[in-house]
Subunit: 158 residues, 2 copies
Amino acid sequence: MDPKHIHFMNIAAQMSREKMADGEGGPFGAIIVWNDKVIGQGWNQVTSRFDPSAHAEIVAIRNACDHLQNFSLKGAVIYTSCEPCPMCLGAIWWARLDSIYYSNSREDAAQIGFDDAEIYKEVSRATSERHIPMIRCESENAKLAMEEWKRKEDKILY
Amino acid sequence: MDPKHIHFMNIAAQMSREKMADGEGGPFGAIIVWNDKVIGQGWNQVTSRFDPSAHAEIVAIRNACDHLQNFSLKGAVIYTSCEPCPMCLGAIWWARLDSIYYSNSREDAAQIGFDDAEIYKEVSRATSERHIPMIRCESENAKLAMEEWKRKEDKILY
């Protein structure tokens, strides 16, 4: 493996150790790299920012997008100290990142109490079989929203 | 169905129509309700905030958590104008929400160009079979982060 990948991974992981020691959140860090330059960074801030979505990967994506003033990170890659959970994998997908470098595996994470296995199962289940009940509740307003989007001439696709 | 559910869904959907008309983002809105009170709201802001994670559900969760100054929404429910994508389902899981009320289905969303089917498949695939390449790149720092978390005495679990 090209040593640059280890270099970038060490930046992400070292940051996570420092931020965790400061009480910011769990032991996870991530950076976004484009053309061998770091354009975004993030560390887990769930408990310090009262934000369950503030996983390292999502914080890094938001930071890089803010930096570029763009909602797409196409052409960039993410280095994350641990395999992403489904929420973060989803965010990586929507951010159009090219590839994912990760160090610790989901099995490593499970050993220190972060068990993503259940959430991976939940996302894979049919809507009717989810553990979190999903109740269909149709609203005329919600249908109109979709029709209005379809007709909207100045919409920005993403 | 209890009319209150339609009432709350209409609030979420009506908001999405207004915000979409203002150019904030796609046709999606969500609210968080606890004890029949709205404690958080969100609408899609991907393109206006340059944030691919700013789906309605995540924005609403962040808003409710900020309001409560808590990273858990246990006991609350979410009303979302459309079935959540895997990223948002993950965020709902981490936020510990009790249940999900949704109006438009993922099939409805696909018809106006938001096709979540591929991303649902991606999350369900084995790591080695993902479309976004996932490359293991082990770092000593990342291992140390996990060991330090395990030993950390003042850690806040989430």
